[in-house]
Amino acid sequence: MDPKIYDMCDIDIAWCPGCGNFSILRSLKGALAELEIPPEELVVVTGIGQAAKIPHYFKTHFFNGLHGRTLPPATAIKVVNPELTVIAESGDGDMYGEGGNHFLHAIRRNPDITNIVHNNMVYGLTKGQASPTSQLGFRTPVQVKGVFLEPFNPLSLAITLGAPFVARAFAGDEERTKDILKMAISHKGYALVDILQHCVSFNKVNTFQWFKENTYYLDDSHDPEDRNEAFQASLQQDKLPLGVIYKCTGKKTFEENIGIYDQDQTPLSLRKMDRKDALKILIQTKS
């Protein structure tokens, strides 16, 4: 498929020129095109923030909900219609701050969705406060003395929680980000892709250059199927590893576990409902 099929004409993109979000959008379109997923079979669920505006900029079904509430609707959409490809996508503040509890429990639930986080280590849309991933010492108008909360490590956390696919990418490398996204989307079960993203307006510390200098790709010596090794890799701070950190297959998904598709594969959303007889029987049990 040509990534052009996702293009929308006549749109005014609200991102700042030079922002890493543009690259992420291109990588995502590329990945979807190569996976042959047409817009009609794709739902992108987002919260609120700069990253969360992404479904307004390409052709897809979308649910642009509340700040921090990306994962609950995404999980529900997938279970109601498993035939759809569901991507839950948002910023670091949205996903790990306001939405932290859903992050924990969505991973436990293991729906077959891809969770993409644009991690610019700052709150962009609200003009530059610290996010959970902001680095120690990062100064903002609110964190006047610099951040002193332990930065949140989404990768280690996801691995600890049992996520079956955990990866890190860098927006600055569109090609490899595309490849990582392809793997994540194809993976059955919950897949996290935390994408390091430069914010040219509010993060003057973790810039494109900084990310370039402080990341490296994991090579073949890394075995993503070894959970312990993956965990160790996720903890590395001196240089941040990129690529698929952890991967395991065969974990049952939420949709499979819930039981609704044991007998009948028809998506819930398309089933015919005739409940008169069943209700009659049910009511009689109460006599």
Binding site: R69, P72, L282
Partner: protein, 568 residues
């Protein structure tokens, strides 16, 4: 003593099996053809404390709690103290002498000593006490022994034979004692016309749950919270036979956002919650308003603020339901008074939510959830489920501006179009907009649906004479108690207007008020919240009120007395 109905109260600590007695009695008595009504009040704890269940048995339909106790079965020495205000010389107390505490202020004039504990020990242990007690009641009411032992066998079907046998022995011994009492004339009730034979026995949670199933509910996401959990448990039990996704969310915020996502994808979704849990959902309610996504919210009220009294009842979250969520958007709020209402209105809530793409509320309360009554089986004619979903085509616009404000709703994966929804102000195609004229149009579009909703309002039900001078007003779960109180008062000049839909208000309400010389509202809260809604949406200021907010439901006597005081 020859009453048309008997009020039996069982009272003991949590964990003493009062619930088992209740369970057995109400079902057997209903099978025996009596009308039964059972309601409980209990503490927020798993063991200990002191709880009570009132069971009314009658040859006429009976559906409201009374203060009066005809027969009291105390299982705990604190029982009499707990119920002292309700014990009168008319009360027959049956039980172990050791449960009649000596320094109890309650005046027990009619005590029948039945050594439950001793009898139980003889059979094999104290755990048979409650079964024996149930037997005594069944015996006094002359229930057929065969029916009783069949029921017990069935009830303990999963236990081993020895246990079944002992339980049957226990209940038989109890029945025998009961018969003896009956025959000795010590406790005689002539309840005529057993007519309830073909009826079913349900509590509020089951009626709401069945209404949800009838309304096409196929997705419930919720977080446990008394007294709303019953509906989640009910649907969980029927997940498989009805094809319903039931998911316990990590918190209430996830619950409502899941429900909205599910609805977006095409399911008919619901949440069930209570006060504090609902408070957490209010941002989600606003999202439903903005993205015009149907969701049914069952809000089972309990006394607040904050944690309040988790297992008690109140009607104090009406204003919260009405104003929950930031910004301005339409909604409907139903408040069932009867089990039939609960079924019909829950079903209707799904229909309206879907048709108008709005949040629809069912407001119940702990009293309503936990109270059993026998009723005729629900009418299932015409319960065909009509989904208001369109197949999309290429140019589909989710928020197309239409004459009446309703944009045909598509879902992803059904048709060729793309379906977007956006919590920001949006254009017809659901993309973020900063076009401020469009903003105004979109607000108008959403609010316009309020007008359409007004054409479907359920009128209030007038009980009593059309020719009233005094009009009682009530809403939700107080229905039966006020109705019975009205009957008791037996005055031609008083009628009762019951609201099952509390928002938007029925436009004809004003007329009812105008015809009255005096209006009195009865509410289970401290600030007369529905009275305020009436003041706001009609030109009437309710004249007087009868309010109760100690955590218990109104009894018939309380209403009778309260009204007599006001009217004298």
């Amino acid at each position: 003593m020859n009453k048309k109905d008997v009020a039996i109260v069982l009272c003991g600590a949590a964990g003493q099996g009062v619930q088992t007695v209740e369970h057995i009695l109400v079902r057997l008595l209903r099978q025996a053809g009596f009308h039964v009504f059972a309601t409980k009040e209990y503490m927020s704890r798993i063991r200990g404390g002191i709880n009570s269940t009132e069971i009314r048995i009658s040859s006429e339909r009976v559906s409201a709690p009374v203060d009066r106790i005809d027969i009291l079965l105390p299982f705990h020495p604190d029982a009499l103290d707990h119920l002292k205000a309700r014990i009168s010389p008319e009360t027959t107390v049956i039980g172990d002498r050791k449960n009649i505490c000596l320094d109890c202020p309650a005046e027990v004039t009619d005590f029948i000593d039945v050594p439950f504990a001793e009898i139980a020990e003889n059979i094999g242990g104290r755990l048979f006490i409650n079964i024996i007690a149930a037997g005594v009641v069944l015996g006094m009411l002359d229930v057929d022994m065969k029916m009783v032992s069949d029921f017990i066998s069935e009830f303990f079907v999963k236990k081993d034979e020895e246990i079944v046998r002992k339980n049957i022995e226990a209940i038989k011994l109890g029945c025998q004692r009961g018969k003896e009492l009956r025959d000795s004339g010590k406790a005689r009730y002539t309840l005529k016309n057993p007519l309830a034979k073909n009826e079913v026995l349900l509590n509020g949670a089951e009626a709401v749950g069945m209404g949800a199933l009838a309304g096409g509910c196929d997705f419930l996401s919720s977080y446990p919270m008394s007294p709303s959990t019953g509906v989640m448990v009910f649907l969980s039990q029927h997940m498989e036979d009805f094809g319903v996704v039931v998911e316990q969310a990590e918190d209430e915020i996830a619950a409502i956002n899941m429900a909205l996502g599910g609805s977006y994808a095409g399911a008919r979704t619901m949440v069930t919650t209570s006060g504090g849990g609902f408070a957490l959902m209010t941002e989600g309610v606003s999202l439903s308003g903005m993205i015009e996504m149907p969701v049914v919210i069952h809000l089972a009220q309990r006394p607040g603020p904050a944690t309040g009294l988790p297992t008690r009842t109140e009607q104090a979250d009406l204003e919260l339901a009405l104003y929950a969520g930031h910004g301005e958007f339409p909604r409907v709020i139903f408040a069932p008074g009867s089990l039939e209402d609960a079924f019909d209105l829950t079903k209707k809530a799904f229909e309206l939510a879907d048709k108008y793409q709005i949040p629809a509320f069912i407001l119940t309360d702990q009293y309503f959830m936990d109270t059993f009554t026998n009723i005729r089986p629900f009418n299932l004619e015409g319960i065909d489920i009509e989904k208001h979903i369109v197949k999309t085509d290429k140019g589909y616009k989710r928020y197309a501006l239409t004459e009446d404000g309703i944009s045909p709703r598509g879902i992803p994966g059904f048709g060729d179009g793309l379906v977007g929804v956006d919590s920001d102000e949006h254009d017809e195609d659901s993309h973020i907009t900063e076009d401020l004229d469009l903003r105004t149009q979109m607000v108008d579009k959403r609010l316009k649906k309020m007008e359409l909703l007004k054409s479907e309002i359920i009128p209030p039900e007038l009980v009593g004479s059309e020719d009233y001078e005094i009009l009682l007003i009530g809403w939700g779960s107080t229905y039966h108690a006020i109705k019975e109180a009205l009957k008791e008062l037996n005055r031609e000049d008083i009628a009762f207007l019951h609201f099952k839909q509390v928002y938007p208000l029925y436009p004809g309400s004003q007329e009812y008020f105008d015809r009255a010389k005096q209006t009195i509202i009865v509410e289970n809260n401290a600030t007369s919240q529905f009275g305020k809604i009436i003041k706001l949406y009609t030109d009437h200021s309710v004249g007087g009120n009868l309010l109760k907010y100690n955590g218990l439901a109104f009894t018939v006597e309380e209403i009778v007395k309260g009204l007599k005081d006001k009217l004298s």
